[in-house]
């Protein structure tokens, strides 16, 4: 299979470019935790309880209300290979906990992979909607519709005072976790990022690197999420996050402008050097890959690199992960072999846009 054919079938909606502010916002995700009334949380789940939950959701996705929202398929973790589960983790469709967890886990996927529902993870249900660009409201609308459709058949654990009850008190109430994945190379290169992150944690939000740790986020990719789930409405939580994200976007744009005005040569050198390495290197580890991809994406956004699609950052940051590489090359690869294949895959992807790449 050619790489472009593989990309066609392997990419989730969110991995494609598009959506508001997509030069900085890679994706928006809403995750809603729900549990079934009078049933122990997965913490204390027996086989009977777990199967009861699976039976309940299986009949829930067969209802007309649910089918109205798309084509859903339930996959039990035990029926998937570890590699396939890992691919879903790398596509951000399921959590590592679900992939590596016990025998009771399952995932319900909508055919376009915009929505995935994690079953028997930490909670009975985690409804997740992930979209490209800054589209939190849209993602929440869809998650809420799926939630309503489930509720037609499921009786939720809901408490008048505490709201939706969850296994962990950090999720109780709305059960909502709204997250925005952002590419912030300007703030990192101008040394402003730690100050920003500190400020964000003061307003009830958290930031973490998607890859790597804390402020040393690999690829300059950060995920900003709400911290609290109880006491505010979903709309207030999303509104608060959105306004902080908008401010971050402004700061990032200002930082990029400053880089272009005050440090043009250094910036061009950095960006083009990284492009050269991606285009010619024969071995790439995942850490360097993310850093170089971030540089190249910045170069594309700032008009320094032309003729390469902006989508390569998202595509390749997922495609160059270990499970995806092995899926594409259809064989088990040791880390050293992966570095060689990763470099080859990157060159192949760049050739799709730029025939000069060898």
């Amino acid at each position: 299979m050619s790489l472009s054919d593989f990309l066609q079938t392997a990419m989730s909606q969110w991995m494609k470019n598009g959506g508001p502010e997509d030069d900085i916002v890679l994706s928006s995700r809403i995750r809603v935790a729900r549990n079934i009334h009078d049933t122990p949380f997965p913490t204390l789940q027996t086989d009977t309880h777990a199967n009861y939950v699976i039976d309940q959701v299986t009949s829930a996705i067969a209802t007309p209300e649910m089918q109205h929202l798309g084509t859903f398929e339930l996959l039990r973790c035990v029926e998937m290979s570890p590699l396939d589960r890992q691919v879903l983790v790398e596509k951000h469709l399921i959590s590592r906990d679900l992939a590596e967890g016990g025998k009771h886990g399952a995932v319900i996927l909508r055919s376009d992979e915009v929505a995935s529902i994690l079953v028997n993870e930490e909670d009975h249900l985690r409804i997740q909607c992930i979209m490209p660009g800054l589209r939190l409201n849209e993602a929440w609308t869809l998650a809420s519709q799926i939630d309503d459709a489930f509720e037609m058949t499921l009786a939720y654990a809901f408490h008048e005072q505490y709201g939706y009850l969850t296994a962990c008190p950090t999720n109780v109430g709305t059960g909502i976790r709204a997250s925005v994945m952002m590419h912030l190379p300007g703030l990192v290169l101008t040394g402003q990022i730690s100050r920003m992150l500190a400020a964000i944690s003061q307003v009830g939000l958290t930031v973490r690197g998607i890859y790597g740790e804390g402020s040393e986020a690999l690829g300059n990719i950060f995920q900003v999420s709400n911290q609290m789930t109880l006491g505010e409405t979903e709309e207030e939580i999303i509104g608060n996050l959105s306004s902080v994200v908008s401010q971050l976007i402004d700061h990032e744009r200002n930082a990029r402008r400053a880089l272009a005005e005050e440090n043009r040569e250094a910036l061009e050198d950095r960006v083009c050097r990284s492009f050269g390495i991606l285009a010619y290197a024969r071995r790439m580890d995942s850490k360097e890959t993310l850093q170089r991809l971030s540089d190249v994406r910045l170069g594309i956004d700032m008009g320094i690199i032309k003729g390469v699609s902006a989508g390569i950052l998202k595509e390749l940051m997922v495609m160059t992960q270990p499970a995806f590489l092995q899926k594409y090359y259809r064989q088990e690869l040791h880390p050293a072999e992966r570095d060689i294949r990763r470099a080859a895959l990157i060159r192949e992807r760049l050739r799709m846009d730029d025939t000069e790449v060898r």
Binding site: L44, E100, H159, Q161, Y164, C168, L230, G231
Partner: protein, 169 residues
């Protein structure tokens, strides 16, 4: 060795002091990060140490007279409060009521208060309303009986019967 996966060496050590009793918790970095349940959640959602010290302070704050964690137990799933502090996850939906005396102060620290103000499920929300109604009616019935207002009591009894029937449908 890591207490969770029993595979990798434990490099992350937590110490908890509950009612003066010290207990250690040893995880590998990966488990601490990914599988620590509450701890992972907590670390993700806010600073881990902040939470633990929060828990700790609560146990020792003067004038706080909740029953000891060891004796608090959920009648529905059997989980004890100290088990909850060990694993960081509750056993069942009823745990929230069983542990409310201790959970409320915790929620006040880690959440934006203790009262939900967001979406309400259509069906279960209706049930909650009916249940609340029933509670009020039952109280009224008792006081009606106590004050020998038997006509009123009969009315209330019929209303309660109606609501109970609706609950079962």
């Amino acid at each position: 060795m890591c207490q969770r996966c029993n595979e990798r060496p434990a490099t992350v050590h937590f110490t908890k002091i509950v009612n003066g009793e010290q207990s250690g918790y040893h995880l590998c970095e990966q488990c601490a990060k990914e599988h620590g349940g509450f701890f992972a959640k907590a670390a993700q959602a806010f600073d881990f140490n902040q939470l633990l010290s929060g828990l700790l302070n609560m146990e020792s704050s003067p004038g706080f007279s909740a029953p000891p964690a060891t004796s608090l137990r959920c009648s529905s799933c059997g989980m004890s409060y100290s088990q909850f502090t060990e694993i960081g996850r509750l056993g069942c939906p009823k745990c929230y009521e069983s542990f409310s005396v201790r959970l409320d102060p915790l929620l006040r620290r880690i959440q934006n208060g203790t009262a939900h103000s967001g979406k309400v499920p259509v069906r279960s929300g209706e049930q909650v309303k009916v249940r609340k109604n029933l509670d009020t009616l039952r109280k009224e019935l008792q006081s009606a009986i106590a004050s020998e207002q038997f006509e009123r009591a009969a009315q209330l009894r019929d209303q309660i019967r109606d609501l109970e029937q609706r609950m079962n449908h």
